[in-house]
């Protein structure tokens, strides 16, 4: 629970600034390595403001988890709603790989990173992350389902499982990309995945 939800525009802006700054720092260094002083500095907010808007660090982290999942989904806006055609899926895959190249293979997946850091430490965060990944996966599952309905995907294919495999390849590919500092790793993973999806093409 927030200690205070801001009722003025200024307050809301400050709260947003705090969350954004925290999310950035968490992305750069990981949750554990971010101190509230760091956050205050980057957000141009004093310590007391942090405690004015969040009851403690955990609550701030939860807000960051939510903001991060929203940001990841928003960043894919325009792509996730068109996963019901082979071209749409290709565009999505290409965009994901391009993003890793632009980022020089740093940081991995913001949600996946949070997962690794929080899953065993904070059950509430784990649930929120699972939810975020679920929403992400749902876009693909629903796209594949529509394709099946339109006869583009074999009737025997299982859209739910295909969506899960794809998420696994994506997350795993991002992990390999991050560890090896090589965006090609994601490319290879998604290429494999594409082959698998095409194998479920309606004949």
């Amino acid at each position: 629970m927030s200690t205070t939800s801001p009722s003025t525009a200024k307050g809301r802006a400050t709260r947003e600034r705090i969350i954004r700054a925290t999310a950035e720092l968490v992305g750069e260094r990981g949750v554990a390595a971010v101190s509230l002083d760091d956050v205050g500095r980057r957000a141009q907010a004093s310590r007391s403001q942090l405690y004015h808007y969040f009851s403690d660090k955990d609550e701030l982290v939860h807000a960051v988890v939510d903001a991060t999942t929203e940001a990841v989904l928003a960043a894919q806006d325009g792509l996730l709603d068109h996963l019901d055609s082979w071209a749409g899926i290709d565009r999505w895959f290409d965009a994901l790989v391009r993003l890793q190249r632009d980022r020089q293979a740093r940081g991995g997946c913001p949600i996946g990173s949070l997962a690794g850091q929080l899953a065993e430490r904070d059950p509430q965060a784990r649930a929120a992350i699972a939810d975020g990944l679920g929403r992400w996966e749902a876009h693909l599952r629903e796209g594949l389902t529509r394709m099946q309905e339109r006869g583009k995907l074999a009737p025997t294919a299982d859209p739910a499982k295909l969506a899960t495999v794809t998420m696994a390849a994506l997350q795993g590919g991002l992990l390999l990309t991050q560890v090896r500092r090589d965006p090609e790793q994601l490319q290879i993973a998604l290429d494999g995945c594409r082959t698998l999806l095409h194998a479920a093409r309606a004949k």
Copy 2:
């Protein structure tokens, strides 16, 4: 560098105990949440012993990374050397899924977890983790290559890429398993991967 490498059996035992205790704690709570006092308590060693054998926490963590990769590979001993047949690959996949069921989907992959925690924070650790994953992947790549030589895999297939996709599916499947607390996620990911591998079967 170690401050001191133990020259007596007792010293070696202590050093081992420290590494093992740290690895356990890191697996349970994550790197950042483990203090040297915790380690001392679990390893039955005083603070000064930690500094006798390791120059600082980072060096201890590096030792843990090495020990963890060795442990993960050792745990798959008897499986990794037989990835040159469809049956061998099936046995491997099954064992991985069974392990997650036994562990109630907790902890994910020890190496993958370390990757998420250290990749952006400790370049040396990142390199060590990349090396460990590389050795892991090499077993599969070499197995697939042998299969190709024996005509079990299509000549057009690319063992290196197939091995990479498989590692991605494995790591991603483990991440989903961990976040969703559901071992079935790994099963689905590996089943998809199996389908992909079979698609590269020699006709």
